[in-house]
């Protein structure tokens, strides 16, 4: 939910409908609620309600259809437009608190995410403090309700980061997935391995030997910061070069937002592909090797090894062998 024009539909279309940031300009307003279902990891049905933010609609949600809208919510994503006019803010917050109350009333167990959106409109220098200020405001407005705040923009990977976290909370057994992944990384002595969901390219499990940032990175506090530590405001296309060419002599220290960038790249392929679907991608650079393979029928795995001796072939072999296990794991979940 969120005020009209705060970018709900845009981000949804970017994540789930493989839109590109620039095509979202074309989108029209959302009339009432747009319900969409997204199969996630074969047996997980994401039921996404994109609620039009116009006042009339909001009034409806809050006063009339409360038990329709707010019952049985597991996860509320409230989107704020950082660029919103001052005098709109108050109403915005009013609606926000109303929503929180409604949620508290109808589905108390729902977890609540707040996205401070359109961060790109804020100068990269001021970005962090703006974000923090806003975040504080929000915490004030949302009384005792526990919320997690992200700064996002459809123009860079921050969106993927936030959504990865969001989805992460939904994946029932993310933890043991991660554990398995750890073993796998161990096994093929790679630096790290990541599992993406295929259609959305959202990161669902992640494991790394490199200690450059740790599990508790998933904790949202510094997440906000991480999201903007170096979120260069560059049009999407260039990210690829970032990853591809400009890194050859980069130090083993990997940019923290690499996964999200990769997500975007793969997305582009999926978009641009005309008559075949992406299978795998092997990339060797002087200092590290990256192998992206489809793991199960709805996930990719990305394995990165810095050790030049490890041949991509080996990695791919390992992946092939590991597949059954992960498939079994997924199947196991659904059983």
């Amino acid at each position: 939910m969120g005020k009209s024009g705060s970018g709900k539909t845009s981000m949804r279309s970017v994540i789930f409908s493989n839109h590109l940031a620039d095509t979202t300009k074309k989108l029209g307003a959302t009339i009432e609620v747009e319900q969409s279902q997204h199969r996630f990891l074969s047996d997980l049905m994401l039921n996404l309600w994109d609620c039009g933010g116009q006042e009339a609609f909001m009034e409806n949600y809050l006063r009339h259809d409360q038990n329709q809208i707010f019952a049985n919510v597991q996860l509320l994503i409230y989107v704020f437009d950082i660029s919103a006019k001052e005098y709109d803010k108050e109403k915005d917050f009013a609606y926000y608190t109303d929503c929180l109350n409604a949620i508290k009333e109808y589905s108390p167990d729902a977890s609540i995410f707040v996205l401070i959106h359109k961060m790109d409109l804020v100068g990269s220098d001021r970005r962090k403090e703006v974000f923090l200020r806003k975040k504080q405001e929000l915490l004030d407005h949302s009384e005792d309700v526990p919320i997690r705040v992200f700064g996002t923009s459809i123009w860079n990977e921050s969106l993927y980061r936030a959504w990865s976290r969001i989805v992460h909370t939904l994946v029932p057994n993310a933890q043991d997935l991660t554990n398995h992944l750890d073993e796998f990384v161990e096994a093929c002595s790679a630096v790290e391995a990541v599992i993406f969901e295929k259609t959305t390219m959202l990161l669902i499990a992640w494991s790394s030997q490199a200690g450059d940032f740790s599990k508790d990175d998933l904790d949202d506090d510094d997440d906000g910061e991480v999201g903007y530590r170096d979120a260069a405001l560059i049009p999407g296309e260039d990210d690829v070069d970032d990853d591809g060419e400009s890194h050859p002599d980069a130090p083993p220290v990997l940019p923290p937002d690499r996964f999200e960038k990769i997500s975007e790249i793969i997305k582009r392929w999926n978009n641009s592909k005309m008559n075949f679907s992406f299978q795998n991608w092997v990339q060797e650079w002087s200092n590290f090797t990256a192998v992206l393979e489809s793991l199960t029928q709805n996930t990719y795995i990305l394995v990165i090894a810095t050790d030049p001796d490890i041949l991509p072939g080996a990695l791919r072999l390992n992946i092939e062998m590991a597949k059954e296990r992960f498939i079994a794991l997924q199947a196991g979940r659904s059983r």
Partner: protein, 540 residues
């Protein structure tokens, strides 16, 4: 039986007209409505109406703010018809419903609209949604309004595209007077012409809706229910002008085609057209040999003041004093199955001492619906009928399987047997022709138009559509095609028309087919005959 003149007052009344738009920040809202306050909104919309800069691009900050959000400011006495929020999902619907005619219903009202969605980058959020809706009573029949609603939607849409008539603050306020005029004009004059932009005018006229006309058969007689000529003017269709001259309640369609010298199809077309507008009504061909009987509605109409007052004037010549209804009633009651109009006329001494136009008399009953024609359906029944198989033996049976084969050769054999009696009966039938009025034989269709009469369109299904044109048979000969049609589904009129003879001749033929004398038995002259040997006539 609703052959009454189309009455404008039958058109449903417009209870309200309103114009709703999608406000990028406020969502769906009623921008203007006439009369005001009839469409309420569940939530008192924040009273500063659309003056916020964000929206001003699309929504004129109205010179007269009272126009905007009239719901909350509605005068106290008018109670709203319905709540906009209940129906907003149909007034400003999801994209898939846009640019379609959408009629939704509230507990007491119907709301007809044509939601339009314009997509263009010139709008905030790339789109402009609006809908001009008409509100009617729930049980209103909107048949005739649907085109109107569509057109209003379309025209406004085009204006918006050309000159952003709706979205630009300059012209937007003109929507209110527009609605006002729609409301007033359509309700009072059921037509309207409103200039919108220098280039476009919104011209509307409500045409009352009628069901499609029924089947027109060549032997149907159109009777005018209104003065058609008065409704025609120079601009009318030429053929129509021609045909109308001949609609006199006596001539049947086929004959009109002849005498007006117009192609039969075109005449049919014209007649259907007139039927559609309920200017005429189709009757059966009137002939002295016809039979009529009362219908159940008689019990209501017999004492109906309108009927009893109209009838005398209708059936008696203007010069003569009209007969009292009571007398006419007796006459009507005397019309019974098994009694031709001729017999009936003698019985009631019509023509001799009673001054009465028998045709108009009968016609009146039929038009009013308390009298109906009893049609003859000849059926060929081979005698003696033996149980199981006689079905197959009837031409009917044969026909239904193999259209012509068996029927033909049977008819041939029959000819040989029949031709003996020909001489006598020929004279006789000639005689009868002298004696009796012969509507058919005069109006014998040109041979080329006979097959037209035989086509499935005019004859009930499965008839001999394939038969070649029938040369006019000399009355002595029984045309082979006749036998194909003796299955009880072809009425006397149809047969007579198809073969272009009067019923008397037809009866003579049938008698011969049936193998009995065409001469009625003693005391049966001119009386109705049902038993013609192996041809039985079923009246119904």
């Amino acid at each position: 039986m609703q052959q009454s003149e189309p009455d404008e007052s039958f058109l449903p009344r417009i209870h309200a007209v309103f114009y709703a738009v999608f406000d990028p920040s406020k969502g769906p809202k009623v921008a203007y409505q006439v009369p005001e306050g009839l469409v309420s909104s569940r939530y008192a919309v924040p009273s500063t109406p659309s003056v916020s800069p964000t929206t001003s691009t699309v929504f004129a900050s109205h010179p007269n703010p009272a126009l905007a959000h009239s719901a909350p400011r509605a005068p106290a006495q008018v109670s709203p018809l319905f709540d906009f929020n209940d129906v907003s999902e149909y007034v400003i619907p999801k994209t898939q419903l846009c640019n379609r005619l959408v009629i939704c219903t509230t507990p007491r009202h119907k709301i007809a609209g044509f939601p339009v969605l314009l997509e263009s980058t010139k709008y905030p959020r790339n789109e402009f949604r609006f809908n001009a809706c008409f509100v009617f009573a729930r049980n209103a029949d909107l048949g005739c309004y649907e085109p109107i609603v569509r057109k209003v939607g379309r025209v406004l849409c085009e204006c918006e595209q050309d000159s952003s008539f709706l979205s630009s603050p300059a012209t937007a306020p003109r929507i209110y007077p527009l609605l006002e005029q729609l409301y007033e004009d359509l309700n009072s004059y059921s037509e309207s012409s409103i200039p919108l932009t220098p280039h476009t005018t919104l011209d509307l006229k409500i045409f009352p809706f009628y069901p499609n006309p029924g089947l027109v058969r060549d032997w149907d007689v159109p009777v005018a229910l209104v003065d058609i000529r008065s409704k025609l003017d120079g601009s009318s269709d030429v053929t129509m002008l021609r045909v109308v001259q001949w609609i006199d309640g006596v001539r049947c369609v086929g004959r009109i085609a002849e005498e007006a010298d117009v192609d039969l199809d075109w005449v049919r077309g014209c007649v259907e057209h007139l039927l559609y507008y309920q200017h005429i009504m189709l009757l059966d061909l009137f002939a002295p040999s016809n039979i009529y009987m009362l219908t159940p509605t008689f019990k209501y109409l017999a004492m109906d003041p309108i009927v009893s007052s109209e009838c005398p004037l209708y059936v008696t010549a203007p010069s003569k004093p009209p007969l009292p209804w009571h007398t006419l009633l007796r006459f009507y009651i005397r019309l019974k199955p098994g009694k031709t109009v001729a017999e009936w006329a003698d019985e009631c001494a019509i023509g001799d001492d009673v001054v009465l136009d028998a045709r108009r008399f009968v016609t009146f009953g039929v038009i009013k619906g308390f009298l109906r024609r009893v049609e003859r359906y000849p059926v060929y029944v081979p005698s003696p009928p033996e149980g199981e198989t006689d079905g197959e033996q009837t031409p009917a049976g044969a026909r239904s399987r193999t259209p012509t084969a068996s029927g033909r050769e049977r008819s041939n054999t029959r000819h040989s047997t029949l031709s003996r009696r020909t001489g006598a009966t020929a004279q006789k039938s000639n005689l009868t022709r002298q004696l009796l009025a012969r509507p058919y034989s005069q109006s014998r269709p040109r041979s080329d138009s006979v097959p037209a009469a035989l086509k499935p369109r005019s004859v009930s299904p499965g008839s001999t559509g394939s038969t070649p044109p029938i040369p006019f048979p000399n009355p002595g000969e029984v045309p082979a095609e006749l036998l194909q049609m003796l299955d009880g589904t072809h009425g006397g009129d149809e047969l007579c028309w198809t073969f272009g003879v009067a019923w008397e001749d037809m009866e003579a033929w049938l008698a011969r087919v049936g193998g009995v004398g065409a001469v009625p038995k003693e005391g049966e002259e001119g009386r109705v005959r049902a038993d013609l040997g192996s041809v039985r006539i079923v009246f119904r």
